[in-house]
């Protein structure tokens, strides 16, 4: 089975797997720093305008936020087991779990869309008509929109990558186990989950205990 998955310049499948997963890890390091640019601004402004941030944090919808966290964690579980199943030779099960991952990812985006609609109805877009007067509350919502927006773009990219796996894997179940793509895609999807795990307390848990 090895020959079919070997791509130049590699001469050995194991090396190729090492390279692909290591390459993906380096890329994930870069992705973390991308969000670090946002975390840094969030940290600075939360420090400069604590009242505005606490007040604004109470305005996000914790129900959507918590359910979406649980959904992404579950999708992470699905793709983690998919990889293990593929490597153990359960191709069909792996493929079904990829589909489950995609369904959960789409569900996340749909719920996020409902949440956005609610936010817009509550005028939670910085600018005229913004309901909170505290200094920094508008900046919190700039960060809310940018952080969740950039994250949603990542979810979309992840869905495309998992979708590619599912399409290619349907034709050839052995490919899921032999190709390094599965590993790399799963790593990317987990990172999307990890980023959301960090965004969740910043955006949804802020200020809940106060006022």
């Amino acid at each position: 089975m090895s020959g079919a998955f070997l791509k130049p310049p590699f001469e050995n499948l194991e090396r190729q797997h090492v390279a692909v997963s290591f390459g993906m890890w380096i890329f994930l390091g870069s992705e973390i720093l991308l969000f670090a640019g946002l975390f840094a601004g969030y940290g600075v402004y939360r420090n400069l305008c604590p009242d505005g941030f606490l007040a604004a944090g109470r305005e996000t919808d914790i129900v959507y936020g918590t359910i979406n966290t649980a959904i992404l964690m579950t999708s992470s579980l699905a793709i983690a087991v998919a990889g293990r199943a593929a490597r153990a030779g359960f191709g069909k099960m792996a493929w079904r779990l990829l589909i489950a991952t995609i369904v959960l990812g789409l569900l996340f985006l749909v719920l996020k869309g409902f949440e956005y609609r609610e936010d817009i109805e509550k005028h939670l877009i910085p600018g005229a008509g913004f309901p909170l007067a505290q200094k920094g509350a508008q900046i919190f919502f700039t960060y809310y929109w940018v952080m969740t927006g950039v994250h949603a773009i990542h979810v979309t990219c992840g869905l495309i990558a998992v979708g590619r796996l599912a399409v290619a894997g349907r034709r050839n179940l052995a490919w899921l186990a032999g190709s390094a793509s599965e590993d790399a895609t799963a790593l990317y999807w987990h990172l999307v989950d990890v980023i959301w795990i960090v965004l969740y307390p910043l955006l949804y848990l802020t200020g809940r205990a106060h006022g």
Partner: protein, 555 residues
């Protein structure tokens, strides 16, 4: 050394029907075979052509600026045009020439060859990296067509988000997209260096050029995304009017500067670390010496890359940053001088008792060495808070970073171009013309930028198109130097194109150099090596029996 530099080596005859694979230049002739290539060597050529184009766009922009500055009055172009010209020069030269210059061309071409690999680890990502560069470059061209941008290359807020009425969005997005090109190149280089080294090529046998690429990639991967996010925040504030840095709505403009310099200071090391790698290769080869203090050179490269992340605040001494932070950043900036000095001393020590050949690449390497040293030492001036307060935003700063980026990096770029030209094209360049160009570049450079140190110290601010008449003499000197520099840049364009067609054939190793790349044919075939390369100690230029006087003295 000049006596052996150009042995009339016979070309390996590519007789039809023989088993010798075609070299990479002749492995397919269609446009498609170039645009959809995954060969690192062809991608290097694609990058080289694109950055050359942008180098000349940036050069034309600065020519307008330099001509305007010949007289104290603003008589050639309007102040708006002037602002757009220096901005275009900065954006194009930094992101579309210097950042990709050595890594994306020579790094791409040489990294696999130097470690004995067939290609980079992810060839398709490599070509994607070029397409991202092109996409970013096209956005920059759109910016120019849309009337240009006048924020300076630094995009400082609040001017860029609230006041400038020029094409800030496309300019920022161009740099944003181009950033991903850097990141992917960095990922590729790091993974390749880890997993594709030939058997026997241990970490401490790697040529310093490879180490330099590795250190550069580290900076590219970890710094570039922060810039990308910062530019995205500018777009958010400018386009969607969401408050981010706007002080009237609780924002802090200094946060922008922090985030911007978190990338843009390390970006200086993206530019100069590869130049250091090139200089190490050239100096060892043309001094016929093993590189002095190899392992210290490696540690110094990595140290510069890492400490380079800790110094960004020295761009903000007068911005309103806390005095305590000024002291911290000032101290850390001094720290980065230590590994830089180690490198300069080791290059110099390598020359000691060498049999030095003054071929064109070595002349460029000497240029690099001297100019980088001046740039580095004036960097210490600028890291000192009181002096920096005096010369902030003057031509002293302009001169300082041009000594690093142009004197250092561009000299090394041309040195690399001449040194590896026989490997890349299989042809020898005309040596005399090349030496003339190298010397001209050195003098042209100093004539352009040394007066800027003086006028900056005397108080001439940067980015002004009208200035008091007492500075005119320095500006005239600078502009005439720029003209010389222009000639020195254009000369290689002509004689290298000539030599590509009509130059003498180069053998596999015209310099008798030691890197693995010289064991491959010139130009190399698709898979680089005809026989597996033999890995030995790096820079094995002189026989090991008996230490030389230099080594005895140090020991």
């Amino acid at each position: 050394m000049s006596d052996v530099a150009h042995p009339a080596a016979p070309d390996h005859p590519a007789t039809p029907g023989s088993a010798v694979p075609p070299d990479y230049l002749h492995d397919g002739h269609t446009l498609r075979s170039w645009l959809f290539t995954t060969d690192h060597k062809r991608i290097a050529i694609l990058f080289a052509l694109s950055i050359t184009l942008f180098f000349f766009i940036g050069a034309i922009a600065i020519s307008v600026v330099r001509l305007e500055l010949v007289t104290p009055a603003g008589d050639l172009v309007s102040d708006d045009t002037y602002n757009k010209m220096f901005t275009l020069h900065g954006i194009v030269m930094v992101w579309f020439f210097l950042i990709p210059s050595i890594p994306a061309t020579f790094g791409n071409f040489l990294l696999p060859l130097m470690i004995g690999a067939k290609d980079l680890a992810f060839p398709r990502i490599n070509v994607l990296s070029w397409y991202l560069y092109v996409a970013g470059a096209l956005l920059t061209v759109v910016t120019i067509i849309a009337g240009g941008v006048d924020t300076g290359w630094t995009f400082y807020v609040p001017y860029s988000t609230m006041f400038s009425n020029t094409a800030v969005l496309t300019a920022a997005m161009g740099v944003f997209v181009n950033g991903f090109s850097s990141v992917l190149t960095g990922v590729n280089f790091i993974a390749t260096t880890h997993v594709l080294r030939a058997p026997g090529m241990t970490w401490f046998r790697l040529p310093l050029f490879v180490w330099a690429m590795y250190a550069t990639s580290l900076v590219m991967v970890l710094a570039t995304p922060v810039l990308a996010m910062t530019l995205l925040l500018i777009v958010v504030e400018r386009w969607f009017d969401l408050p981010v840095f706007d002080a009237s709505r609780g924002g802090d403009p200094l946060l922008f500067q922090h985030l911007f310099w978190f990338y843009s200071h390390p970006a200086v090391y993206i530019m100069v670390l590869p130049a250091m790698g090139v200089a190490s290769e050239l100096i060892a080869c043309f001094a016929r010496r093993r590189l002095f203090g190899y392992s210290f050179m490696v540690y110094a490269l990595v140290a510069i890359a890492v400490i380079g992340f800790f110094v960004w605040g020295h761009h903000m001494f007068v911005s309103g940053q806390s005095p305590y932070a000024n002291v911290v950043f000032s101290f850390l900036s001094f720290m980065v001088a230590v590994p830089s000095a180690i490198k300069v001393f080791n290059w110099t020590a390598t020359l000691y008792r060498g049999s030095i050949g003054f071929d064109a690449p070595m002349l460029y390497a000497f240029g690099f060495l001297g100019l980088f040293t001046i740039g580095g030492l004036t960097g210490l001036f600028l890291a000192t808070v009181p002096i920096d307060i005096h010369v902030t935003d003057t031509y002293f700063v302009v001169a300082h970073f041009h000594y690093i980026m142009v004197g250092g990096t561009v000299s090394a770029f041309f040195g690399a171009l001449h040194f590896w030209w026989p490997k890349i094209t299989g042809r020898l360049y005309p040596e005399t013309l090349a030496r003339i160009a190298a010397v001209l570049m050195f003098f042209g450079f100093n004539l352009t930028f040394f007066p800027q140190f003086v006028m900056g110290y005397l108080g001439m601010p940067r980015r002004y198109h009208v200035y008091p008449p007492e500075f005119q003499i320095y500006h005239v000197l600078s502009t005439s130097g720029a003209a010389l520099l222009g000639v020195a840049y254009v000369m290689p364009l002509f004689y290298l194109i000539w030599s590509f067609r009509w130059g003498a054939r180069a053998g596999a190793n015209p310099w008798r150099a030691k890197g693995l790349e010289w064991q491959a044919p010139s130009p190399p075939p698709r898979d680089n090596f005809l026989t597996p390369p033999v890995v030995g100690e790096p820079y094995d230029y002189h026989p090991p029996e008996g230490p030389t006087a230099a080594e005895e003295q140090v020991a």
